[in-house]
Amino acid sequence: MSPSIPFEEDVKPAMATEHVLNVHLDGFEGPIDLLLHLAREHKIDLAQLSILELARQYIKFIDEAVNLKLEIAADYLVMAAWLAFLKSRLLLPQAEQALDGEEEDDAHAMAQALAKQLLHLETLQGLTMRLMARPKLGVDKFHRGAPEGLKRYKNIHYIGNLYDLLRAYGDMAQRRQPVKIYKPIAHKLMAVEDAKNRLVTWIARVLGKPRGDVWLPLDAFLPVSSNDGLSRRGQRVAFFTAGLELAKQGAIDLKQDKAFAPLMMRARKEERA
């Protein structure tokens, strides 16, 4: 057997002597564990239901701990109170018991249940120690130190299924967005309002000035930046429409010498009603 079995050491009760016992509660896993320890310590046979003796030892232990002003978790105190209650019930004189038979049965049942729980945990603790005492892999027994290792390759074949293909294609068709949505090209065309504003500005500038009433061709008003045919045609339309409107208001004069000749414009000198 190997020199060190860590588990075995772990399971040994942490508290070996009564002296240490009196000072620490930390080593115990709760009241049941403490009860088990006390049972072992005082050689109380759980199977014989000597719960009275165990209760006495437990209460004594807790009392000592309290006297030493140790911090005691509540569940230890609850167990002590419960055991005190149980003890008093179990010790009731016969006469009183006769009066209160039911409770006496309860007390015995409770004592029995506690004894069973203690026995159960004690059995499990013993078995766990036996389990830990078995030869262990990595401590007493070893797998191969340098295994070559096994490899696994997967050859994956996909299965073609026409139904699935059509189904997937169909579902996608339902889900999908139209490939292209028609979006008209937005051309930047001159608005009539814009042309009119430009003409009004021009009128204000030339009115009453020398040569202010000279005839100018409509095309002279078009901004030079526009080379593209569509936009130039758009400007011409805008100025023509604006010109008609201003002529109607009497702000300008329009004339065209013959069909398809340049359209001429001039600011009107004064209102002719």
Binding site: I32, L124, T128, L137, P147, G149, L150
Partner: protein
Amino acid sequence: MSDIVLVLEAILFASKEPLSVKELALRAAVEEQDIEPYLRELASLYEERAVELVERDGRYALQTRSEYASFLSHEQEESRDLSRAALEVLGVIAYHQPITRAEIEAIRGVGTSKGSLDMLMEQGWIKPGSRRDELGRPGTWLTTSEFCDAFGLESLKDLPGLDELRDGGFIAANDTLPNSPQKQSELFEN
């Protein structure tokens, strides 16, 4: 000696972990139901040797016999010391699986610090089982195949002292532990 026995030897010798009959049969190209005699023959080849063929939770592995432990101290891994609480929890789970945390606490009479379960799971010795079909659907805990590997258990039925728990009335006589596949064979009795 059959070639298949030697193929099984090669596979088990090279493997990093115990192998199931299924895996062995697949790799050795033998029918699963035919594999037992070959395994028995391989086991007999190692009968008087320092290495033995063992079955652990339905899986097979070659490993050194514990008699040679004293010569193998070089190979000992640093094992983490489990707390007393964790060990006790492990014992309770091993003997009563599948078991809920509340049931563990009822048996131990104390709350279970989450650390115990964490540590045992990190060690690879316990795993969550299916949820119990009762109020709150509490989760259950089971031991793993690695647990059987670690403690040399052919199956959970080999847990020491199961009869004591049965005699004490702590587990039902007909209680069948889960997680313990039918023994592949009675080949490798301990």
